[in-house]
């Protein structure tokens, strides 16, 4: 039952800036999807998904997030269920069983599992945070950290079975970001950083044992771009860098990018959509995109500071970590700083599940802001 005042408050207080920024990026995405796949129906489908995403954002923003969190275990459970379901019944694309076909649509449960995991982690970590707040050392204990990692591990393991290493990887920044905000002991942070560095070096040293040959090649392409095999696995990265570089200051013009339109650029409408933007709209266009993404993320973190309680803060921190990691990794991949790992660009890459999941995440951020006052 919404009263006039509530509705008025919603309209006044809803984060239209957040929505506006996201909408511009998503629409630009649709345009560039059309640019790289004009004869296909991808852009139309993306528009449909955008509509669904907007509805999802408003719905998620309206209901008080505390009530959403009450349902968190069910959401999390449903995501796990779908991830299990996808293993026997999923549609295989590029050797990965990540999609569930429902009628003419297919959804990617792993995208929704990211949100499900955030919803599950936030209240758990918020309670611990609250408990520790009054103590002398307001930090999470080792056992609590492990519990949080456990919550994350379930979807990660299921996604590794698909197998989709890139997507599985994106769960660690989520839990990492949320743990960091909830109070990770500085010593643990240092240990973690060193540990990751050691693990990476060891992994690199034994790369031929732990990684598949193509994965090794993709990484070597980044480490030694001048030595990369431009005909082989360095191809994607090199073509993407050509697309970006040939865009110049002002770009080659909308719908004029030869790299994407002549299909030198692989997967131009999904993972490499930003390269199409860079090619067609140039450095200035790319600067706008970067600014918009930075604006969205920084603004969201401001909301996190204003949140009524720890759960709110952590929800926002989780979504920001999720989106931030995706954006940075994807753009890093486009410009040849990060190996090709198959992480899409939020809001712009083609893909309905990711788009809807992103808008749900933005809805949560708007929600935390809307309900920032204790009443």
């Amino acid at each position: 039952m919404t009263t006039y005042r509530q509705r008025r408050r919603f309209l006044l207080d809803f984060d239209w800036w957040l929505l506006g920024g996201a909408l511009i990026l998503a629409l630009l995405g649709v345009v560039e999807i059309y640019s790289s796949q004009p004869q296909e129906e991808f852009w139309k489908r993306q528009l449909w998904w955008l509509g669904i995403g907007l509805v999802a954002m408003f719905v998620t923003a309206t209901v008080d997030y505390h009530r959403i969190l009450q349902a968190a275990p069910f959401v999390y459970g449903a995501c796990i269920f779908l991830l299990v379901l996808v293993l026997p019944f999923g549609q295989e694309v590029y050797g990965t069983k990540a999609w569930l076909g429902i009628g003419r649509f297919s959804i990617q449960p792993s995208e929704f599992a990211k949100i499900g995991t955030i919803l599950m982690l936030a209240p758990f970590l918020a309670e611990r945070w609250e408990e520790h707040r009054k103590t002398k050392h307001p930090y999470l204990t080792m056992r609590e950290v492990l519990a949080a990692l456990g919550i994350t591990a379930v979807p990660v393991l299921l996604i590794l079975l698909q197998p989709d290493v890139g997507t599985a990887l994106t769960f660690f920044p989520i839990v990492g970001g949320m743990l960091f905000v909830a109070g990770l002991r500085p010593r643990l942070i240092a240990t973690g950083v060193v540990g990751v560095a050691v693990a990476l070096s060891l992994g690199w040293y034994f790369r031929h044992h732990v990684l598949k040959p193509y994965q090794v090649q993709r990484i070597e392409t980044i480490v030694h771009p001048e030595r990369a095999d431009r005909r082989g696995y360095g191809y994607q990265t090199y073509q993407s860098m050509i697309a970006v570089g040939s865009g110049g200051l002002t770009g080659r013009g909308l719908f004029r990018g030869t790299q994407s339109r002549l299909r030198f650029l692989p997967k131009a409408y999904t993972d490499f959509i930003a390269a199409v933007v860079a090619e067609e709209l140039g450095f200035l266009g790319m600067l706008g995109v970067l600014a918009l993404y930075a604006f969205l993320l920084l603004r969201a973190l401001n909301h996190a500071k204003l949140a009524r309680d720890h759960v709110g803060t952590l929800l926002v921190a989780g979504v920001v970590s999720l989106l931030g990691f995706h954006i940075l990794m994807n753009l890093g991949m486009i410009v040849g700083l990060v190996p090709v790992i198959g992480i899409p660009l939020p809001l712009m890459s083609y893909g309905g599940s990711a788009l809807v999941a992103t808008f749900i995440g933005l809805g949560l951020i708007a929600n935390v802001r809307l309900h920032r006052y204790v009443n």
Binding site: F180, G245, S246, G247, T313
Partner: protein, 642 residues
């Protein structure tokens, strides 16, 4: 911990600025370099067609394989990038001296219009070294041209086995429109007839391709991706090349058909039909004006060389039919081998007509009546049997039906019946005794293919198991298969019926006065039956060559354990005993030379002992082959053994 949120904000800001710097470096600082790279970026897709599987004979000798050829291909994307139209280019190339066939190029361009532009169009196959040199020398002027390797069908034995092999050709537009050809694209080579058609899925491989980067002059600077083609399966046929060659030689220039098969399992050893055609026409020359003229001539030829007489030709059986009438009469108990005499009477008065016998045979028994092919005897036996029982029995032997051979467009033919007459003779629809009399000697309303006849005679000879004739033995290599489509008709015949008929047919070849004496082979016990099928009523035939009788000889050997059955049909020459029986003899001689000694050696280790019989009784059966023994040898079990 809100300070940590601020920290995160700073971290993000730094990373975004870092990205911005990187974009600046690529897009502004190094812009020139990448723009040049983009302009030089041209990709081509060069298909690597998969070689079709070879076709081998039963001993693994090559009948058809592939030879490498070169094709000139056109990259339409490149052409479009240069702002040119394909048709202009083709005209220009012809004017410049490249020999292209306008007609086929036009068809190809039309067909490929539905395909993505990066997929090339073949402008010319079988490019000569001069053509290739021409293209290579003009790489700068015509960067859109390329050379592709393409395996092409090669027929080292020329026209040998043409009707069984069939031929290949480009997939037609009508085929492409059908859902079962979804995976094919225009220009694909597909089996169009014979084994090439029926086993296309096995023979065809999967095409591969190379994706290459070329510079602005069309020079290949690197390979991005290479997907190797998967060659098709080699197929082993049941055909024996030596028998096949002899069969075709024996037909000589005469119209007709020969089939030799193993009645124990339906494997076809030789299948010849004449006149024939050259399958290399379709694989190699069809896209040239000469090739098209050759093809039109084939279609227009009144002797119909493309038509496989062994399975598509249907003919009256003449006296070979008597074996079926005799089998039916014996099984129905109208006569027994011991009590079977009937008068010849030089013929029979039926109503107001006298139907003649060609000789005067007195009071022959069944054996003698078959040996001398006494019509008078069979007129009377046929009348006793009656048309309905005759129809029922010949249909049980598989006559008037498709045999199910694994070759396309087999014709069913027809056998005499009341219904058939009513349908085709509306002015006199009632079945009369005269019709029965005529039908008893395989004249009148009967027309079956040579294959049906040899299958039926072979099936009776092995005791009543009529296997599905087939030419496919196995697909070799990983994921191969063996023939599993044998669905034998099983008609349990009495042992004494089978023995009486075998002995009578042995007599036809080996006894005094036998009509098939010309087929006699020392030491092989060839048994058979001659037939002379009237094309028109005797009175009207005269001497016109195309109205002369068809000569039949259907046979099997050896008498007591048939391993091979042979039918010979020669159109419009005259008596079966005179023209067809000697042909069969040559085939049997070849067979004997090649297999009999070998099988005597094999007999030391009898194959049946590898496996207990189904009844559980030990297989010690020196007696003539019985129904069970014939079943034991069905290829279904043979294939189980492997």
């Amino acid at each position: 911990m809100t300070d940590r949120l601020t920290l995160l904000q700073y971290l993000l800001l730094v990373l975004f600025i870092g990205l911005g710097v990187r974009f600046w470096s690529l897009q502004v600082v190094q812009h020139e370099r990448y723009l040049r790279a983009a302009e030089n970026n041209r990709i081509r897709l060069i298909p690597i067609p998969a070689p079709r599987g070879a076709i081998l004979d039963r001993h693994g000798r090559v009948i058809v394989d592939n030879r490498p050829t070169l094709s000139i291909i056109l990259n339409r994307e490149e052409l479009r990038a240069r702002g040119r139209k394909p048709h202009e280019l083709v005209e220009e190339l012809i004017a410049q001296g490249l020999a292209l066939d306008r007609e086929s190029v036009r068809q190809r361009l039309e067909a490929m219009a539905t395909q993505p532009a990066y997929y090339p169009v073949v402008l010319k196959e079988n490019a000569t070294p001069q053509d290739v040199a021409w293209v290579r020398a003009r790489q700068i002027e015509y960067p859109e041209l390329d050379i592709m390797e393409q395996p092409q069908r090669r027929y080292p034995h020329g026209t040998l086995l043409a009707h069984v092999l069939g031929y290949v050709g480009e997939i037609t537009r009508e085929q492409l429109a059908r859902p079962e050809f979804r995976e094919y694209r225009p220009g694909d080579i597909i089996g169009r007839a014979g084994v090439e058609l029926v086993y296309d899925r096995w023979l065809r491989g999967r095409d591969g391709y190379r994706r290459v980067i070329v510079d602005s002059t069309g020079h290949e600077v690197g390979e991005i991706e290479r997907v190797d083609p998967i060659p098709g399966h080699d197929i082993k046929l049941t055909i024996d090349l030596d028998l096949q060659r002899v069969a075709e030689e024996q037909l000589g220039g005469r119209r007709g058909a020969i089939v030799a098969l193993n009645p124990q399992n339906g494997e076809i050893l030789a299948l010849a039909s004449h006149p024939t055609f050259d399958p290399s026409l379709f694989a190699q020359r069809i896209n040239t004006p000469e090739g098209r003229a050759e093809y039109r001539a084939l279609l227009a030829d009144p002797e119909r060389p493309l038509y496989n007489r062994a399975i598509q030709g249907i003919y009256p059986t003449g006296s070979t039919w008597k074996i079926f009438v005799a089998a039916a009469a014996l099984e129905e108990g109208l006569i027994t081998p011991e009590h079977s005499t009937l008068p010849c009477g030089r013929g029979l008065q039926v109503g107001n007509r006298f139907v003649r016998c060609l000789g005067s045979h007195g009071m022959p028994d069944l054996h003698r009546a078959i040996v001398v092919s006494c019509d008078g005897y069979f007129y009377r036996l046929g009348l006793r049997l009656g048309i309905d029982r005759m129809e029922r029995w010949v249909k049980r032997f598989g006559l008037g039906q498709r045999t199910g051979i694994d070759l396309p467009d087999e014709v069913a033919g027809f056998v005499p019946s009341r219904a058939l007459k009513a349908k085709f003779n509306p002015r006199d629809p009632r079945w009369r005794d005269f019709d029965t009399v005529i039908a008893s000697i395989g004249q009148g309303s009967v027309a079956i293919s040579p294959l049906q006849l040899v299958r039926a005679i072979g099936g009776i000879a092995v005791g009543g198991v009529f296997h599905t004739p087939h030419v496919f033995k196995e697909a070799l290599g990983p994921g191969g298969t063996v023939y599993t489509a044998d669905r034998p008709l099983i008609v349990p015949l009495q042992k004494r019926t089978v023995e009486a008929l075998r002995s009578a047919m042995w007599g036809v070849v080996n006894e005094g006065g036998g009509t098939g004496a010309a087929a006699r082979v020392e030491g092989l016990d060839v048994s058979g039956k001659t037939g002379t099928a009237q094309v028109v009523a005797k009175e009207r035939a005269g001497e016109a060559a195309h109205l002369r009788d068809h000569a039949w000889f259907v046979s099997f050997a050896p008498r007591d354990d048939p391993q091979i059955a042979v039918v010979v049909l020669i159109e419009n020459v005259g008596f079966g005993g005179r023209f067809s029986a000697p042909v069969a003899r040559v085939i049997y001689e070849t067979y004997k030379e090649k297999y009999v000694r070998a099988s005597e050696i094999a007999a030391v280790v009898p194959p049946a002992s590898e496996k207990p019989s189904r009844e559980g009784a030990p297989v010690v059966s020196p007696s003539p082959v019985t129904l069970e023994a014939a079943r034991r040898r069905s290829p279904l079990e043979v294939s189980n053994r492997r």
